[in-house]
Subunit: 457 residues, 2 copies
């Protein structure tokens, strides 16, 4: 989009952010509608560029330089992708404004009121791979939450993202939202320069592979919000109900094995090895799931009569690395442990602290699991696949965070806001701190019941 250097881009983004603070949030929603119109008006041109990106990618795939799965993700004209991309803009526009809400309010003294109010973070740097519709998706989220954004897509989608970004700017130009509110860059060199500019950029959001996220975390002091991996597990407790165990274990694994919230490990309480496990194993094998079993779970399957038909082809012994592997496929590591306590310890050591589920009828076990497992999601008798912003009811999803700071688990628009404190004295002579202290005025700290700051116009 731009021929500026990284410093100019970042500074322009910060200025655009600051200039936008006086614009009412209704104007930001209006901007989303203008962007949708502009994209629709440029549909033919954008899809032509996407076709060119696809043709170039096909050559790469044929030359063995690119995985074939990438073609699907690149194709903006596939199925209803275009229409659902545009509908997504309207969906985000219709969500409640995540800014302006008061989360703490206190009367510090007569006529001295303090409000903690949600506000945008500032400038987001979003780095993603392949799927060009992420440009549109992230733009919607950034504008809705009042943040400026700098977007960097994969080079394989550069023709498409350039035109998408241009159409977005055209839409923005019809509103009072600054035109440089959303900027798009194309080269990797610019990214590494941008990662140094912590005076302008407030948050980096990488959306892509583990290695992308780790590389970025290692090369910036700007906070990074991303999820590195999803190593989720299902624990079948000694008090598990068989049918729940079968349903939850199966859904967690097979509903969408490539997702970060799919389960990779099944943990069995030793009490269920000969009771619940055979039914669960049969269901998994019927669904063509490859099982990597520890000796006890493997032994139990070999003793079954009749033996499951595909035992020989689908079941094999696990090794020590199995329980630290994100399979992202129809593969499941299985281990037997002697107690709920040991299962919690095992999950805390081996899971990626994303989402883990217990199957149990015991309320005490459920409570202990939810307290003890140190993950963003701890579920009882429910599939790990529920860990998702849309399913949680956020209306949209910025990503899933396996970090613990600021946002954890599925992140909605709330993850793109921070807060500031506003204080106003209505006293005839204002308020100063030297009037307070021993023998002087004391702080009242009387809670105020407010959902918005009363003195903002």
């Amino acid at each position: 989009m731009s021929t500026f250097n990284a410093h100019d881009i970042a500074k322009a983004a910060k200025t655009a952010f600051q200039d936008s603070q006086l614009i009412p949030s209704s104007e930001r929603a209006h901007a989303l509608h203008e962007i949708r119109k502009s994209l629709e008006a440029n549909k033919t041109e954008i899809l032509k560029a996407n076709e060119q990106d696809l043709q170039a990618a096909e050559l790469e795939v044929k030359a063995g330089k690119m995985p074939e799965t990438l073609l699907k993700r690149l194709d903006l004209n596939r199925g209803d992708k275009w229409d659902s991309m545009l509908q997504g803009i309207l969906d985000v526009a219709a969500l409640p404004d995540p800014t302006g809400n008061v989360s703490y309010a206190s009367e510090l003294d007569d006529e001295l009121e303090l409000y903690r109010v949600a506000c945008p973070i500032g400038v987001l740097l979003v780095i993603f791979e392949a799927r060009p519709e992420v440009v549109v998706n992230i733009t919607s989220l950034a504008i809705k939450s009042g943040n400026a954004a700098i977007l960097k897509g994969g080079k394989e989608s550069s023709r498409t993202t350039t035109l998408l970004a241009r159409a977005i700017s055209t839409g923005l130009a019809k509103t009072s939202v600054p035109e440089l509110y959303v900027q798009s860059i194309q080269t990797r060199a610019e990214v590494s320069s941008l990662l140094e500019l912590d005076q302008y950029i407030d948050l980096v959001i990488p959306r892509g592979s583990n290695s992308l996220v780790k590389n970025i975390q290692n090369s910036t002091r700007i906070p990074v919000m991303g999820h590195a991996d999803g190593l989720c597990s299902v624990f079948i407790d000694e008090h598990a109900d068989v049918s729940k165990a079968v349903r939850v274990a199966l859904d967690s694994k097979i509903d969408y094995p490539a997702a970060c919230n799919a389960s990779e490990t099944l943990i069995l309480h030793e009490a269920v090895v000969n009771t619940v496990w055979p039914s669960v194993a049969k269901a998994l094998l019927e669904a063509n799931v490859k099982l990597l079993c520890d000796p006890i779970s493997l032994g139990a399957l070999k003793e079954l009569s009749p033996r499951p038909t595909n035992l020989e082809t689908l079941v094999s012994p696990s090794d020590v690395s199995s329980y630290d592997t994100e399979h992202l496929d129809l593969i499941l590591s299985v281990i037997v442990l002697p107690s709920l306590q040991s299962a919690i310890q095992f999950i805390n050591s081996h899971s990626s602290h994303h989402t883990d589920s217990i199957v149990t009828e015991s309320e005490a076990a459920a409570s202990m699991f939810c307290r003890g497992v140190d993950s963003a999601g701890t579920f009882v008798n429910a599939s790990t696949r529920f860990a998702d912003g849309f399913r949680y009811g956020f209306g949209t999803e910025v990503g899933v965070s396996t970090g613990r700071i600021h946002a954890r688990g599925p992140v909605g628009l709330d993850g793109l806001v921070t807060y500031k404190y506003m204080m106003k004295s209505k006293a005839p002579s204002g308020h100063i701190v030297s009037e307070f202290g021993a023998g002087k005025k004391q702080y009242k700290h009387k809670p105020i019941n407010a959902t918005a700051v009363p003195f903002l116009t």
Copy 2:
């Protein structure tokens, strides 16, 4: 305290954290009382070690290797410091539990409930300089909020902090909180190793100089919560009341000039140069504040009749660096700007986004300032010195964050917690996602009114 290496220390901290998750929060408050008792029982020994630290420091000061101000900060026997340190433990113990509160709850489907519940972050690495009582202060905050902590003090207080840490461990040993919940380390080498261990350490909290904070941010991918500097300003608007302007400008500067929330810059709307400014300047000069003035504000003072007596000694021209300097002393940079809008832009470019205040009688100007200034605190007719955890009513202060992610501004115990999502299905066959979708079940997303998770025992 420990002869273990950094990896062992960090791993032990994480294990202690995870093991502590099933301990009720009442036991954590009990631990604080035991720690207070243990410190009191070892008072003589600790103060003797502190005396040794002081003697060693005095030699360093005499040799010109250490600033004399450090001696005051080191001395644990000075005034009521010891007693207020112990009282601080009881104060923190008595604060409301920051964990367990539900901030989002939704019925996703009949008999499928989701709760977002506050929980500790994990392992904190706290690095501080000089003041040994920070060991006790941070220990209280960490235990109260359910986090494990690794503490590293300055080498000038090592004898004191070693004994403080030992007394803390002795107190912890009398409770069910793991003994290695709080560990103390002494060498810088251990710190740099710890900063690499992001699999065990979840948050780094530096408390000290700007350079300490920046160095740490540059050398770790673990999130850092610290405040780098405090460059606060007061803007006197064209609609300012003279007496409020005098009081707020004076208190912001002179109440405690070395604090991060003291003002460093005074911005004058050009309309008040000959009206409000003379009174403000006279008050500042009477308080012995050195003024670094731009040409217009300087000119206005020179034209005053009678001339302020100490004009020659205290007033001098500013230079371009004045407005980016944290004076931390009785020095104030002064600049005249043509509008509220330009003042907001100036603050956003030059302040450290800590706290800025406007003096105005105009509600529109107050609102525009509070919205437009991109700082953690935006105040109206109130001193910048109010920006403080105790004054805000948090009961305690972890620090002041000029970062925007996770915690911003004065940070109370809430800054030491994150959240996790707990979900429970009560349906007879549990819950799986493949039952939802087009032509199948739809999500209800019905808000639940709850302050705690009902299924935790």
